[in-house]
Amino acid sequence: MSRESENGGNDGWVAGARPATATSGVAQNPFFEYLLRLADDRLVLGHRLSEWCGHAPILEEDIALANIALDLIGQASMLLKLAGEVEGKGRNEDALAYFRDAIEFRNAQLVELPNGDFAVTIVRQFLFDAWDVLVLERLTAASNQALAGIAAKALKEATYHLRHTAEWVRMLGDGTAESRARAQRALDDLWPYTAELFLGDAIDAEALASGSGVDVESLRSRWRQTVDQVLEDATLTVPKDGFAPRGGRVGRHTEHLGRMLADMQSLARAHPGAAW
């Protein structure tokens, strides 16, 4: 992954116009918007991981990555189904997954970045998992019973994901000179994108006020405890905070998401309603 191209991909939103949220009607329904954020993180990251299927460095890890991908896509499916019900316009999980365009996706930019080498994929997954466990822990107490149920199921899965990726970060960081260098480079490249995970806005505040949200800003110190400990075990250096791209939560994405969606959505769009 080229850091320069990532940065270049983000220049658009800094100077850019307001995102086109009107098309999806999200402003009128903040809880729908909130559920899309939760779902799209999982859908996009799950699809990214699925790109490893058949390509991972060893059979066991190929299966492990596919397992995590399926967990995430399963969570996304449940969350999008709930989102469709909350929206009340007759869209089901497939309509929301396959017939929205990039500007209508609400995932954090971290999860849409290209897989890079194995270290990039593992470090990205680890940084996400450490955050995801904290989010899901809180959502198990959501006032919306459907969301609380999904969170309880997802938390078990995420706890394993974190155990798996944390172990891999330790192995890569405290491994060979090459694995350590690749892990550190991945960490340096991805670190800026973690800031967006902890930025709340009016949508988050409204979900929190209704009893079905998470104060993401308050999660940062516990996330750093987990991350710092694993990185120390892995002999990796925690990058400095600085450049912090954001905008995914309101539909401003890197150029990578559109290409990924073109691939992910092509079958469903070419054969609407296809079943197999």
Binding site: L59, E60, I63, A64, Y160, H164, E167
Partner: protein, 109 residues
């Protein structure tokens, strides 16, 4: 008693310098059931072996417990021992428990 019960050569667990160690996986499918050999995985550490075993052998079934054992720690009988070790039992019917009636409802025997 033949005396060649030496551990399986650890060379067998490493097919190349770049190959991770081999671990044997045993799964248990319910409380009280035996741990049964499910297969093997490659891994660098015990924790890594446990995770790979979980992902490869415990993701679909009703597994409640996993054992992973370094392949080199398994002591195996040699094929040539099959006669002395296992044959004598066949014609000693009194060693077999088939004369007992299994109580109805007893499972896992």
């Amino acid at each position: 008693m033949p005396n060649d019960l030496s551990p399986v050569a650890t060379d067998g667990a490493r097919s190349a310098e770049t190959q991770w160690d081999l671990w044997e996986v045993f799964t248990q499918e319910g409380a009280g059931a035996p741990h049964e050999h499910a297969g093997s995985v490659h891994a660098t550490t015990a924790e890594h072996a446990m995770q790979n075993a979980r992902d490869v052998y415990a993701r679909r079934g009703k597994v409640v417990s996993l054992w992973v054992v370094p392949t080199g720690a398994i002591v195996a009988s040699a094929p040539s021992d099959a006669g002395p070790l296992f044959d004598p039992g066949n014609d000693k019917a009194y060693r077999h428990p088939q004369f007992y009636k299994t109580p109805r409802g007893a499972r896992g025997l």
